[in-house]
Symmetry: C2
Subunit: 511 residues, 2 copies
Amino acid sequence: MQHEDWLNELKERGREIYLLEHTAALLGWDQETCLPEKAVEERSEQLALLEGLAHEKLAHPRVTELLEKLGATLETPKGTVPLTDVDAGYVRHFFRRHRREVCFPEDLVREFARRTSIAQSVWARARKSNDFALFAPELKKIVALIKERARLLKVGTHPYDALIDTYEPGMTKAELDRIFIPLKKELTALVAQIKTRPQPQTDFFNAEYPLEDQRKLGNLILARLGYPQDRGRLDVSAHPFTTTLGADDVRITTRYGEPNPFNSFFSTVHEAGHGLYELGFGDAVRGNLLADGTSLGIHESQSRSWENLIARSRPFWHGFYGEVQKLFPGILGEVPEETFYQAINRVSPSFIRVDADEVTYSLHVILRYELETALMEGTLEVEDLPRVWDDKMEQFLGIRPDKLSLGVLQDVHWSAGLFGYFPTYALGNLYGAQLFRAARRDLPGLMDDVEAGRFAPFLDWLRRSIHQYGSTYTAGELLQSITGEPLNPGYFTSYLKEKYQDIYGGESFGG
Amino acid sequence: MQHEDWLNELKERGREIYLLEHTAALLGWDQETCLPEKAVEERSEQLALLEGLAHEKLAHPRVTELLEKLGATLETPKGTVPLTDVDAGYVRHFFRRHRREVCFPEDLVREFARRTSIAQSVWARARKSNDFALFAPELKKIVALIKERARLLKVGTHPYDALIDTYEPGMTKAELDRIFIPLKKELTALVAQIKTRPQPQTDFFNAEYPLEDQRKLGNLILARLGYPQDRGRLDVSAHPFTTTLGADDVRITTRYGEPNPFNSFFSTVHEAGHGLYELGFGDAVRGNLLADGTSLGIHESQSRSWENLIARSRPFWHGFYGEVQKLFPGILGEVPEETFYQAINRVSPSFIRVDADEVTYSLHVILRYELETALMEGTLEVEDLPRVWDDKMEQFLGIRPDKLSLGVLQDVHWSAGLFGYFPTYALGNLYGAQLFRAARRDLPGLMDDVEAGRFAPFLDWLRRSIHQYGSTYTAGELLQSITGEPLNPGYFTSYLKEKYQDIYGGESFGG
């Protein structure tokens, strides 16, 4: 049958893109972990060359032709020819990626690359000197370019729809508003209530945790979670990340020696969550373009479920704390389990998103979301960002930063042109809680397993329900089929209320 | 001027090849140092894809056209258009590489890749079971393919000319015979004489040298030699190697924990010699295809000069031994400097080429050279290789291997289709000695510097005389201009006689 020939040709072309992208990922991984200092400039040329080659292959006129023949669209998973679910997902995914490569004229692509490269270095200087006036002209140019890109992408009805869809296929501003407006209300109320309660003790974090033992702890939990040593690695980099270099080569990084040694522990678990997703793709998607997380939100749901729902849970520490005490007997020997458990779950409004706890974190995201959408709608000017940022911070968390590096200048995203990206971090929390509820429904002994250090049942459930499909189904499709309903932020907020009621005690949290 | 446009276009195309090759080199480096076990198969596909892309760019019809317009030939460095020395070298080098990509039909390339891949795995099994009959049919096919390649390469008059020219541009079988025939005679005589003398004591090598201190020693000598930390790395791999991943990214590897801890030390110095060559390219060749060793022989002259002429010299150890004693006080504290110096220079006929000392090493190479040329001429059949190998071993070194893994099955080269490669190892020794004589002529205080741990003057001399030019000039051209004469093996043999006379004492070595 002819459509099978088209599909096979498309898959052969896709395979080369897949291999090129993994090669580019190695260039990136090596840059963060191994690259000699003076080699950075040539490395960026190597990366640009490979990205250019991948672009040529993704945007190839023959690909346009094949996708047309196969009736590819964004909206319907099945086109005009009969395809299996996976093949339909493949065609849709390829179409989505192809469209992003062909819908921008060459000069816009070049201008965007040039402007973001300049803006990132200007941003770094502006953050250092707390000088927004330095950054504002660059950010304005980027906002204008982003608006132009959104227009050309022709997705949805609101200009923000095209932006969020890039990272979270199928998501819209209307849907985000439906979720984020009630979520913001619930979380600000919860934060305000927690603020009135006495705080857990955390002084034992300020001690000398030997680096070698921190490393042991990281490797121990990685092995315990079932992260396969022969299909990945754990290395050190300035900022932790996960990267996929092959179907059987998913590498994570961490950093040691921070003031709180458990930052490295939780960041290792977080990245392992991303890595286990990438290592869990099933045979039908393995080795092809579908072998990719279906959205950044679903990806983040994996990392946050392992980090927060598992590794910050009471059953986890009831089972694991003894081993950690043995590793640091001088420091933790006399610290009771409950004290430790409360300390690692301390809720405390703070300025920096990446350091936020699981209650305040999503508010940092919603703040950025409100600013991004206002910038796109033209109801907010770049000049006004610092003031509006600080005002919102005060409304949401009750604190006001006294310098811009703790406020509007803290994140690299905008200077890199990443608009529509932030919401996926909060979606990860929401997806995670809703999916976890389904996991507990299917695995009644889940938290007993966690307490006993048996993580395989939960990992198997994730593989079966989510990982195996790669990008075959969108986040929304997955959520509906696994949990029987669309995204519902109530699972996340009720999880938080129950957990933190238990930790902070006192009157029941309202809302 | 039009030829400048052609040249610029050629250089732009060359730059992409240069970047692709460094990217492929990273895939290779990572495979030997970091790659998770299960990721090997996809890695070989990534490598094949990149090699295919580099081939496409090297063999591109537009490249053929540009090279023709620029009057490129192998023989004359300057074509029909006026070019500077460096540009003429660039065109010649590009032509040489282009020709190798276009002179083989596609099906021969595929057959060669398939056959060598099979042969390498069969060879590994055959070596393990000492079964030449298993390997012989595969080797026969490879010899036939090599003959076909030599025919298509159309270089020189003897079929071996095309093979050696691949690794040592401009070298011929006639020239190798001129060098190797007297060299063989001199070396066999020297080995026979040394055999009659008492051997240095080496028992202190059989002790526990802590791994951490071996590592310290490697890093110490690397820093002392001036290997720039911000332009390279030292890592661990199963077999030591040097690889260039960028103009400012040249990585070497070593292995620790062998029976003799100084193997790792000398292998680190050896690889550093290769690395310093690759890091010494001048501005005119930096970042383009000329930024490459001009021949494997010259490359090997760099590694062997640092390893043998410098780091196995008496002045070197007179200056350095105290530091090594301090690192291993329990083992070397009571071992006198002279005892140590003699031990690391012990000459002892043995079966394995890669473990051979500097006197016997070249005989291992000449043995292989004689077998390769006989195979090409058809005066030796593959079946007869084991017997002829063992006979020659007995003639050259006076020893006869009792199993094939110590004889004809020890090297991977033939199964990989690398015919014409071995001679470059011996040429490295000869070039090294002749160039070193010139260095001592130009730097009268050279050995005093070595004793004082000052290696910069010699490195500067190498940069000035050799490194800066990359592949602009052939080995023969370099040798003529630096030393004022063509290759003369007498420098190497007189160096050996003088050094080992001094170590072994007794009657003066004749020959």
